[in-house]
């Protein structure tokens, strides 16, 4: 790869390519632990939904599907801009790399803003499962469980998006100011892997939370 040729090589590696390979392996290992992290919540959701399908059907209908759909689009687009940032870093186009990193961060902030609006609406409707929780005509314990899972899963995901946005902004500033962009190319690539993973989590989260059954 073009970026490997001039990237600084730490003393424990023989070649830049080996260094890059080790870094990539490390991030995939980290992503595997992230699968563990989210996996527990997805498992809980799976079990409860299989046991109480009607309650989850009813509770899901109270989520704002239009907001969720737009947010999915926002994240998919952000993965596209992220991959363009990675490519720009690899071919040493500084302005493009900085630009695409910032656009990706902006889309991430857009996602969080939309999510915030949803949360505000849901809290107002009494769907936050605290003492003021109420959902007319439904089993209180089961619909509470749906919304526990909803707030936990989307909240954990939003936390990951936030961390990603912060890193994107830091990397954009770093890319703008560094003398040698090739030293940053691998780091941008790894951040890209993290960002795509966060996108994939949402790709599964969206139909499970918002689209349980919209046809009836």
């Amino acid at each position: 790869m073009l970026a490997d040729a001039q990237a600084p090589v730490a003393h424990q590696f023989e070649t830049a390519e080996q260094q890059r390979g080790a870094a990539t392996l490390g991030i995939w290992l980290f992503l595997a632990t992230e699968v563990l992290f989210f996996g527990g919540l997805f498992l809980a959701y799976t079990v409860y939904r299989l046991k109480y399908p009607e309650a989850f059907h009813e509770a899901s209908s109270h989520t704002l599907v239009a907001f969720g759909a737009v947010n999915t689009g926002v994240l998919l687009l952000s993965s596209f801009t992220m991959v363009l940032a990675v490519r720009a870093g690899g071919i040493r186009q500084r302005t493009a790399a900085v630009g695409f990193l910032l656009v990706t961060a902006l889309l991430g902030l857009g996602f969080l803003a939309i999510k915030g609006c949803e949360y505000a609406h849901e809290i107002q409707e009494g769907l936050l499962p605290d003492a003021n929780f109420h959902l007319a005509g439904a089993d209180p314990h089961l619909s509470r469980m749906f919304f526990y899972l909803y707030f936990l899963m989307t909240g954990l995901h939003a936390l990951h998006v936030t961390i990603g946005v912060v890193l994107l902004i830091i990397f954009a500033a770093w890319a703008k100011m560094t003398a040698r962009l090739e030293g940053l190319a691998t780091a941008i690539d790894l951040l890209g892997l993290y960002w795509h993973f966060v996108d994939i989590v949402w790709v599964f989260l969206f139909p499970l939370i918002y689209l349980v059954s919209r046809h009836s």
Partner: protein
């Protein structure tokens, strides 16, 4: 200079699949609604992993690490379900 064409094509495909996900949710497919939605999500995830995350060009060890994460998740969910789905109440 590497082409952006595969990225553009995958992005278009992802948005079409998003449309399919939403559309399929509004059609009554009975018991198949959830499997169809999950299948479409799997295809989206597959496209992101192979093209955006470069797993297509990655060497065997990286693919193994990626596969292990998914494999672990699968056995966690499937083995747990062998309990909950066979409880009979």
């Amino acid at each position: 200079m590497s082409s952006i064409k595969p990225y553009v094509l995958v992005t278009i495909a992802l948005f079409l699949l998003l449309g399919a996900t939403i559309g399929a949710a509004y059609i009554d497919l009975g018991a198949f609604n959830t499997p169809v939605a999950m299948l479409i999500s799997l295809i989206k995830a597959g496209l992101i992993v192979t093209v955006f995350m470069h797993l297509r060009q990655a060497d065997g060890l990286i693919r193994l690490f990626a596969g292990v994460g998914v494999f672990w998740l699968a056995i966690m969910i499937l083995m747990t379900l062998t309990d909950f789905l066979t409880r009979g109440h």
